[in-house]
């Protein structure tokens, strides 16, 4: 089924109006040598019913998890039913980027409200309409820092998500920036002594994450003065946005750019995407921030309205001088985040508290098992590190029970060969946790 409405009569009439006799005449600019003689070799066409059955079968080849103990950048949170219903309105999801403001007031106002909520949550005055994901948001933050400070060195804490560090590395390599990793201390936080030694007058930015990859809350009181001591920018990331409901945001601690992953706000885990990159900054970046911005203005009659604004930053106007090449962002995911935040409202705090309680209970149950220990004692949010005799075997036991287990830390942190990163969200019941602990206890 190809969804084209043309009848043979339509085609004949249209060809006649154009003044050609055959459809192939319209493709004459494709050199003869390169025209395909037959059709590409694709799998057989399916009717809608067959296609439905086929994708259903494919999805059933996955294992639907009994529970998820993994965080590490993607989080299992409850999504209120209202979110799907609102973003499922096709006036939103079948629209393009709002280039024609008068017939796009819906998405433009929604983006403006999103920007406002993100600004309030991050503690910074300017937030954009979204980036691709938390990793690329941090990478674009690093590039923005390089370009604004005219410096070519980026420092990044080893407590930043390993994949975020790799994406930042990819973007740095493309810009010939040096990227240096800063170790963590015994508390599992950025080693500020090492940071002090590393930061210099070539340093464009210091990138940290809080709660960090170990789930630990970084102490910005120690980091901020060091980062700013030589004029570098402080870029603070996060991976579970619900933490913003509980913790004092990095913007309030003096970060210049706050960026992170917004998936937790109303977007399913979706095997890694689409998510949304949250990006907020201080006022001085208003005219340099990457991505779309919706701005309030007035119409001819003086009524309030919204437009995409400060487009002189963007690629379609500035081309090679643009601050970023981003065009399509994650508007529908940002809309989901907006609906989620409106739905939760001040309950975001209660949800975040519940996450802490669940994580603490999970940690307590597992840490009580023989041979299990918590290597870091610093306060955290909903994730934590434990060491255990054999992380691989524990995960395998959980896997046998249909459970997505913890993140094995040894591949990114060889110094933590027995480390497992675990996450407790509101989706885990006490019974789930007791069961997971019992399975772990049975591993010999």
């Amino acid at each position: 089924m190809d969804y084209t409405p043309h009848t043979p009569d339509d085609i004949a009439a249209m060809l006649k109006a154009i003044g050609v006799s055959r459809l192939d005449d319209l493709f004459q600019d494709i050199p003869e040598t390169y025209r395909l003689s037959g059709l590409p070799d694709l799998p057989p066409v399916l009717s809608e019913q067959e296609a439905w059955r086929h994708v259903l079968d494919l999805s059933a080849q996955n294992t639907f998890p009994a529970m998820t103990l993994m965080g590490a950048g993607a989080y299992h949170h409850y999504i209120p039913a209202v979110v799907g219903h609102m973003i499922g309105r096709s006036e939103f999801y079948t629209a393009y980027t709002p280039y024609q403001a008068e017939i796009s007031q819906g998405i433009l106002q929604a983006i403006y409200e999103y920007q406002t909520m993100i600004a309030r949550l991050t503690g910074l005055p300017v937030a954009n309409a979204s980036m691709y994901d938390g990793a690329s948001a941090m990478a674009e933050g690093a590039v923005l820092a390089g370009k604004t400070t005219n410096r070519d060195r980026i420092l990044i804490s080893r407590t930043v998500h390993p994949e975020y560090r790799r994406v930042v590395a990819t973007y740095c390599a493309a810009n010939s920036y040096t990227l240096t990793e800063i170790p963590y201390d015994a508390a599992g936080r950025v080693d500020t002594e090492e940071l002090m030694t590393a930061v210099d007058d070539r340093t464009a930015a210091v990138c940290v994450q809080s709660p960090n990859f170990f789930g630990i809350i970084e102490d910005f009181r120690a980091i901020e003065p060091v980062a700013h001591s030589t004029g570098a920018l402080l870029i603070a990331g996060f991976t579970d946005a619900t933490s913003l409901g509980l913790l004092k945001p990095a913007g309030a601690w003096g970060a210049d750019i706050v960026c992170g992953e917004g998936q937790s706000f109303g977007n399913p885990m979706n095997y890694g995407g689409p998510y949304l990159g949250i990006f907020a900054a201080t006022d001085k970046f208003l005219r340099k921030i990457p991505g779309r911005l919706s701005g309030m203005t007035v119409d001819l009659d003086g009524n309030r309205g919204f437009v995409l604004t400060l487009q002189a930053r963007e690629q379609h106007i500035r081309r090679e001088k643009a601050t970023s090449n981003i065009c399509t962002n994650e508007a529908l995911c940002a809309l989901a985040a907006s609906v989620y935040l409106v739905s939760l409202g001040k309950n975001l705090r209660n949800l975040a508290e519940l996450n802490v309680y669940k994580a603490l209970y999970l940690k307590e149950k597992l840490a009580a098992l023989p041979g299990w220990e918590a290597p870091f004692t610093s306060p955290g949010y909903n994730e934590f590190v434990l060491t255990c005799p054999d992380p691989g075997r524990v995960n395998a036991a959980w896997q046998d029970a249909g459970i997505v287990g913890g993140y094995v830390l040894s591949k990114d942190y060889p110094e933590l060969p027995k480390g497992l990163l675990l996450c407790g969200t509101e989706m885990l019941s006490k019974n789930d946790i007791d069961r997971a602990a019992a399975i772990a206890a049975a591993v010999r």
Binding site: P98, I103, Q105, V167, P274, I326
Partner: protein, 480 residues
């Protein structure tokens, strides 16, 4: 319309958090008072307030389901509903990206099959599905070019981009540290071969060519273009944003393109969501495969696995594996259409564009009067000269008749450009209705130009003040 913040009333709630079955703890002790935030300044509304708010917003928005959306270069075709349903299957949405591979075999099979289909359709050796959107695909492609020359020990600092290219092309080049050099278009609307010959030195990494280009024209001299670029050791990059024009007719890999980025949200009908999510797979020829981002899907004895160990890779451009949910939609679409359906897609897309071109040619200037591919580009010059009515005015007037305007003022090489891409899913009746309105507006320009200049009249807001928005930016509600 009020902002959601203006509808907020202290104490209202649209949600309830479960009471919890584990003991609460004193957070000031466990976390420390200094680390806790004082207040959350989010709206307080009921669920009905929320639903009415977003429903009202949706009614102030225009999508393909409401009407004709001929936004050039954006391929705003109809999005079959079954693809939405398939992407919502809990078996797809509920999986953590780091779930054990034994749990994600269905996902990996789908991604691998999508990759294979794209290879076959475009004649490339391999594809990565990781980039989040077309522009990130471009960036990935250019990073691959950069790494290719680094590995060969060649220093190439420049990249060539025709003046008809998308703005993302030069921005992607610059973001990757290349100096971008603009290649002018010929009078026929293709690449100026003489200019290409002289610019294509051994310091040039390659040419980023949108094909068909933003004039809607297929590069007729593509064989010469490819020869010139390749003779000097350069790479030929295809911006495949306009791939809807040639599916089943030709394959970029056969033509000599070394890389191509696609936009699944255009060509393969995954809806654009009002500005994303998209998905921008990148296809490469055999010699560039080692540089693709990791992880890559590998099949070992009927089991799919994600492999990281490719020493020449550019690394990662995104956490995890790409916009998986968008891939599910594109995959479903490809299975529904099959090879014959895809070829018919391009046939009808090109037929529709040429039909509009033929019908409107008497009324609007046509700077490049050739058979076009998926889109046609007019100029509003005649209307500017005769009555001072600009393309922007014509676009706004179209809105009053229930149509989304075409892309305007792009490509930059056409003054007062009107870029119309009807796509294949629109019927002759719709095209005729659109053309009738365009002709009526052309007549109105003659008879009552002021009426056109004041449009639109039927929208929730009248024409908006962009200058004010930029001069006194208000991008965050402060309650004033």
């Amino acid at each position: 319309m009020d902002l959601i913040f203006e509808k907020s009333r202290p104490g209202r709630r649209a949600s309830e958090i479960p009471a919890g079955d584990v003991s609460p703890v004193a957070l000031s002790e466990v976390i420390g008072e200094a680390f806790l935030r004082e207040d959350i300044d989010l709206p307080e509304v009921s669920e009905l307030d929320l639903v009415r708010h977003y429903t009202a917003l949706s009614r102030r928005n225009f999508g393909v389901d409401l009407g004709f959306y001929p936004l050039g270069s954006c391929t705003m075709k109809y999005n079959p509903k079954i693809t939405e349903e398939s992407a919502k299957l809990p078996g797809f949405t509920g999986l953590h990206p780091y779930a054990p591979e034994a749990f994600s075999q269905g996902n990996l099979a789908l991604m691998d099959e999508l990759r294979r289909m794209l290879c076959e359709l475009f004649g490339m050796a391999d594809f990565t599905l990781q980039p989040s959107a077309g522009a990130q695909g471009e960036l990935t492609g250019i990073m691959i070019c950069r790494k290719y020359f680094e590995t060969k020990g060649e220093k190439r600092s420049r990249i060539l981009i025709p003046d008809a290219a998308h703005g993302t092309n030069p921005a992607s080049g610059a973001l990757c540290g290349f100096e971008t050099v603009t290649i002018p278009s010929s009078t026929e609307g293709g690449v100026d071969l003489t200019a290409l010959e002289s610019a294509m030195t051994e310091e040039v990494a390659g040419l980023m060519l949108t094909n068909p280009n933003t004039l809607g024209l297929f590069e007729k001299n593509i064989a010469d273009v490819a020869r010139i670029v390749h003779e000097r050791g350069g790479l030929l990059y295809c911006d495949g944003a306009n791939a809807n024009a040639f599916l089943g007719h030709t394959r970029p890999g056969d033509i000599g393109f070394d890389l191509i980025q696609l936009n699944l949200h255009k060509t393969f009908s995954t809806p654009h969501g009002g500005g994303g999510p998209g998905s921008g797979p990148v296809g490469v020829g055999a010699k560039l495969v080692p540089f693709l981002p990791v992880p890559r899907i590998v099949k070992i004895e009927n089991r799919y696995t994600l492999a990281e160990n490719f020493p020449d890779t550019i690394g990662r451009v995104k956490a995890f594996y790409g916009n998986f949910n968008v891939m599910v939609k594109a995959y479903t679409y490809l299975r529904l259409l099959g090879a014959a359906g895809l070829k018919r897609t391009s046939d009808m897309a090109v037929l529709n564009a040429n039909y509009i071109k033929a019908r409107l040619a008497p009324y609007f200037d046509l700077p490049y009067d050739r058979t076009c591919m998926h889109e046609c580009v007019f100029s509003g010059n005649r209307q500017v000269k005769s009555h001072g009515v600009h393309t922007l005015d014509i676009a706004k007037r179209l809105v009053d008749y229930g149509f989304h305007p075409p892309t305007i003022y792009f490509p930059l090489i056409v003054p007062e450009a009107i870029m119309i891409e009807p796509t294949e899913t629109e019927s002759k009746e719709t095209l005729d209705a659109f053309c009738d309105v365009m002709i009526a507006i052309a007549n109105e320009v003659e008879e009552n130009p002021e009426r056109v200049k004041g449009a639109p009249y039927t929208t929730p807001v009248r024409r908006l003040d962009d200058v004010l928005a930029a001069r006194k930016p208000n991008v965050c509600w402060t309650g004033k």
